[in-house]
Point group: C2
Chain length 343, copies 2
Amino acid sequence: MELSERKKQILKAVVEHYIDSAEPVGSKTISEELGVSSATIRNEFAELCELGYLEQPHTSAGRIPSPSGYRLYVNELMERRSLTPQETEGIDEALRGKLEDMGGAMTNAGQLVSSIVNYPAYSVTSGNSALTVERFELLSVDETSFIAVVMTSDKNVKSQLQGSELRFDPAHLSDLKNLLNTHFAGKSREEMSAHLMSVSDQLSPELFLVLSKTVEYASGILEEASKRDVETTGASRILKMPEYRDVDRAHELMTFLVDNKENLPVPEDGVPLKILIGPENVNEALRDTSVVVASYDIGDGMRGLVGVVGPTRMDYATVTARLSYFAESLTKMFGKGLPSPEE
Amino acid sequence: MELSERKKQILKAVVEHYIDSAEPVGSKTISEELGVSSATIRNEFAELCELGYLEQPHTSAGRIPSPSGYRLYVNELMERRSLTPQETEGIDEALRGKLEDMGGAMTNAGQLVSSIVNYPAYSVTSGNSALTVERFELLSVDETSFIAVVMTSDKNVKSQLQGSELRFDPAHLSDLKNLLNTHFAGKSREEMSAHLMSVSDQLSPELFLVLSKTVEYASGILEEASKRDVETTGASRILKMPEYRDVDRAHELMTFLVDNKENLPVPEDGVPLKILIGPENVNEALRDTSVVVASYDIGDGMRGLVGVVGPTRMDYATVTARLSYFAESLTKMFGKGLPSPEE
DNA sequence: CTTAGCACTCAGGGTAAAAGAGTGCTAAAA
DNA sequence: TTTTAGCACTCTTTTACCCTGAGTGCTAAG
């Protein structure tokens, strides 16, 4: 059933007042705004309550939006704000400094978002489990150590000094390198370790040790890269919000944000922006918070996420506008900046 | 002037009661403990107040320790606890998992400490500005890109794919590598960039570009490594402490811990453990908190720091014992674990 | 359908009294 | 001289209570 135009206006007004005052909104406030008497508004209030869009903290208080009230607001009533020049400039500015180190940008994305929207934020870099090693290099150091260099298929290069318990002849490193590149490059972790078994008897023990150390190292890198990484920041911002004046509530949310960040919502692929209001969050601990989360493209079909966590009384219009802009900017950055890395 | 034995006992008792109750301690509590009448205790209280070791929140309340009371307690009265087997086991256990990735251990040190002592913690890895490049390697990729590998004097190896705007002949990379190793290895950042100038006209533009990209990359690594890095964790733990039931106080400390972490105390070299009580902290924002900070050796005369921040009513005995043990364990780990890295 | 009017409800603020914890002081006991 | 019992006093905390004000729901008139 469709709401009357006036009911929508009233709901919108209540939501917006409540968003910036955090206090129940009375009929008088709305009546002044819409130019109808408060009694009329009260009648409408009563119906909106009945329909489940508004709630009453207690009999003699004003109304506050229910989760479905917010939902309707977000879906239909909210004006999609465009950002002011100051806002875009602020976000551009924040991104500009970070543009240099692309890798850092992802882990810092949360911090930026948090400062941009003034809510706690999180950043997810979805792991790439399809990653393989594109190239191995072995650099000789001495008879008991060498440097393993691994370039993954996303053009990241990692390297580490490796020590071996068995002496080996550095002259053989070049052969080993070729072996690695022909038989281990392009393989998954499982394939690599399977293949490692099969060559174990074709090599001298000391060279096999070098080989396996390198493969293990590479395997560790792939595993690390396949993990989804979630970072949260700005949790302390909630302490300025009236809904978290209660230290225990604040503590609950804050510990969730640091200890359970893996359980923060991750929308399905292809959804650029998702808003989860209160009980729409499956996670119990987020039942009275809202989450807004946007995705951006990293390239190669990969994506990252940036999200915002706050009370259901969240400034959805501003948050969605800024977050979308931020995510779009990141997508652009990655489109331009990569794949030729650095400058 | 030396306090009487009994005054010391009383002070000790007051501090310890206050530490675990957070409530002013009355004469009756102490009288039961020491087997003297409460009136006697009251007389002693009055004198201890006069001497500045105790304070009275208001006329008819019990006593709480003053900062100098805590100081005396820490210096003379506190029993240096040895850890229980459970405690050492807990710490060993926490470290065991992290032993593998030594680099990670340092950034995670704060987290571990925080969970070990249940206060917010911080970890400082003091930058090494004497670091130089021990070895350069250049690996050929194609005519417009190559991999720069840099091993620093602390045996860390970093590498990155570099793109060049000018085509170059990969065959020359080996010469460039030798040039780098003979003229740039072992040099400071300033020396490297100075030398870069001097070779600019001895090389073709495209090779100079490769060279300078590599040197810049190395320089960036050295700069990064020279920076002191401070990480804080566990800030939300304060929300469980009665002194931070006031959201504003909590917020103040928490934002300090994230935004001003560089201003956390860093003791002079050679001090294994430092305790700063309330106003002993020069920093205004820490005026009514205490900080306990321990240092550990990384090797090569370098050190790291782990510290704990909490209310002046901190459990100094437990914190110092656990923190010391933790720092000593780290020192041992680094002594054994490095310089031959990994396993 | 809208609005004025009115009685009603309930949270929040303020004051007052009561309770409780602990003190300081005095005077007696050790 | 030191310790202790006793007692009046102080000050916070708790509870109760009332009052106020914001806001409601309902009714009846416009």
